[in-house]
């Protein structure tokens, strides 16, 4: 088994934390994030040795699986409250983070995926479209809708994202 998966553990050690953070933003839930990541890593492991760019593969699985789950069920209900876990001593910063997390959780999964791809993974519209398997136009409209929704959900916050939005 070890030869079949040579290098897999090292890959997870190196890139797993970053992928877990992307999964967390996609799901807005720690447990769901780990579940999603595990599922994507298992798929990567099944093809290990045949993947030329494993991180790109895992990342694509994360996004497509998350969005396809949403497409399948369309039953996601926005969370009513944010997790009551404050890990920072800076209360204001913690509140801001949890408020943003709450707002992210209220976005439809497709919009959430676009926000994470564009503003966390820093992909261009074309790259994001390729990951999600949708048109650039869809990415643009989803981005616009997501930011509008975030502005509604966070009326006291102004986003300095303009440069990224127009990339």
């Amino acid at each position: 088994m070890s030869e079949r998966y040579a290098g897999f553990a090292e890959f997870v050690a190196a890139r797993g934390p970053a992928l877990a953070r992307s999964a967390f933003l996609l799901t807005a839930d720690r447990h769901a994030a780990e579940d999603l990541l595990q599922s994507a890593l298992a798929k990567a492991a099944a093809r290990w040795g045949r993947l030329r760019e494993p991180e790109a593969y895992v990342r694509r699985i994360l996004y497509t699986e998350q969005v396809s789950r949403w497409r399948r069920t369309r039953s996601e209900v926005p969370v009513a409250e944010v997790p009551a876990v404050a890990t920072s001593s800076d209360e204001e910063s913690t509140v801001a983070r949890l408020t943003l997390l709450d707002a992210l959780a209220r976005l439809p999964r497709g919009q959430r995926a676009v926000v994470v791809l564009r503003f966390y993974d820093d992909l261009t519209e074309a790259q994001a479209a390729a990951v999600l398997g949708v048109s650039v136009g869809t990415v643009k409209s989803q981005t616009h809708a997501a930011l509008a929704r975030l502005r509604t959900l966070l009326p006291d916050v102004s986003f300095s994202h303009d440069a990224a939005e127009t990339r």
């Binding site: 553990a9 447990h31 890593l41 990567a44 492991a45 983070r97 503003f119 990224a164």
Partner: protein, 402 residues
């Protein structure tokens, strides 16, 4: 307040994201992959067997044995096998479903429902144990008598849920806040967080002692209850709902999965129970129609959606009482032969009961009680020393005994 969205997302993901545990992620991914690979190989082999069987049947005079097809009728051994030191773990040799949990020397085992024999329960298996819970590192310690894990099989036997054990089991030295659910066939695990579980507040010693798990018949929900509180978790949404105050002890579900029968933990001798719907609304209260007793009462759901039953005993008096949902008594069966036994479920209109050992018959029998006559008949035997601690009730109702 001005916020750079990029910076804010990075800060959010770093500060609030999952604990970093790449070793566990890699190990879990490889375990799942290997399990799928083994299943594919088994499916190919089973397909080959099916083709071979079909060819044999096509030949004149051909005879067939039962092929191990996926949807075969589940089976229960006529005598439950005794685990040995060579009993494989679930991760070593996966099974698709299990009929029951048996305990030997404080260790739990699953009884395969397709003739596979026993598997060690996964909550003592390192590959099913999280590395940390609530930021605290977990490890395995030697189980202690009387502090076994609380675990339950889904009605169809395909899923197992358990509460993290206290110092008795695998998740040590941390109050339990999650129910872990594993799908036997795939090894996929899922944690359901419970809001402020009382067993968590009370400390690790109480984790395994009082809490009980009760699956809905369709496997879509699970209730965790202890002496004075019950919480229902909807597995499709992950949401939890606290059942009305006073809920406690074992919870049983109506066959249609719409209503729960909950023992009133406040009532002395548990002679009061109530019906609760899935929204957590109390529908009706039921009282045992026996005045002034001080015996023990076991409430459980009847053979259909409209009846409930209660065993009660006091001294030499024993009775099985059947009543409608509104509390109207339908039948009182005095001194049934299977008194002091634990109800498991229903099978063909007869009550499945775990019958305790006696001086004449060491070991345990699982038998059937005919409510019309009060007579019992054996179903299968559990050897002395083994304890059955959970059943896949839907599977027990239909399984073939071999």
């Amino acid at each position: 307040m001005s916020l750079d969205l990029r910076d804010a997302l990075h800060e959010l993901a770093t500060a609030e994201g999952p604990d970093v545990r790449p070793d566990a992620w890699a190990a879990e991914a490889l375990r799942r992959t290997e399990r799928r690979r083994r299943h594919r190989m088994m499916s190919v082999a089973a397909g080959g067997v099916a083709v071979a069987v079909a060819l044999v049947l096509a030949l004149p005079g051909g005879r067939s044995t039962s092929p191990p097809v996926a949807d075969a009728v589940p089976t229960i051994p006529a005598v439950i096998p005794v685990p040995s030191s060579n009993t494989p773990s679930l991760s070593d040799k996966p099974i698709r479903r299990a009929s029951m949990i048996v305990t030997l020397h404080n260790r739990d085992y699953l009884v395969g429902a397709d003739g596979e024999g026993l598997r060690a329960a996964p909550y003592k298996d390192p590959s099913f144990i999280p590395e940390t819970v609530n930021g605290r590192k977990m490890g395995i310690v030697t189980p202690v008598a009387g502090e076994e894990c609380s675990a339950a099989l889904s009605s169809d036997g395909t899923k197992l849920a358990w509460l993290p054990c206290g110092k008795a089991g695998s998740w040590t030295r941390s109050p339990a806040t999650d129910v872990r659910v594993v799908t036997l066939a795939t090894g996929r695990t899922r944690d359901i967080s419970m809001p402020n579980p009382p067993w968590g507040r009370q400390g690790v010693q109480l984790v395994a002692l009082g809490a009980q798990l009760s699956w809905s018949p369709d496997g879509s929900a699970i209730v965790v209850s202890d002496a004075n509180l019950a919480i229902m978790a909807d597995l499709s949404t992950g949401r939890t709902r606290r059942l009305p105050d006073g809920s406690g002890g074992a919870v049983t579900w109506s066959p249609d999965g719409k209503t729960m029968l909950v023992t009133d933990s406040v009532s002395p001798f548990s002679d009061v129970a109530f019906l609760v719907d899935r929204a957590g609304k109390k529908l009706a209260s039921l009282s045992l129609p026996v005045v002034g007793h001080s015996g023990r009462v076991t409430w459980f759901w009847g053979r259909d959606d409209n009846t409930v039953d209660a065993f009660w005993s006091q001294g030499s008096k024993h009775e099985l009482v059947t009543m409608r949902r509104d509390g109207t008594v339908i039948r009182r069966l005095p001194n049934p032969a299977a008194i002091n036994s634990q109800p498991i479920g229903w099978r063909g209109g007869r009550l499945v009961l775990s019958l305790g050992p006696s001086a004449q018959k060491p070991g345990t029998y699982v038998g059937l009680l005919d409510p019309a006559t009060g007579e019992t008949a054996p179903l299968f035997r559990v050897p002395a020393g083994l304890l059955c601690s959970g059943y896949a009730t839907g599977l027990v109702a239909t399984a073939s005994i071999r």
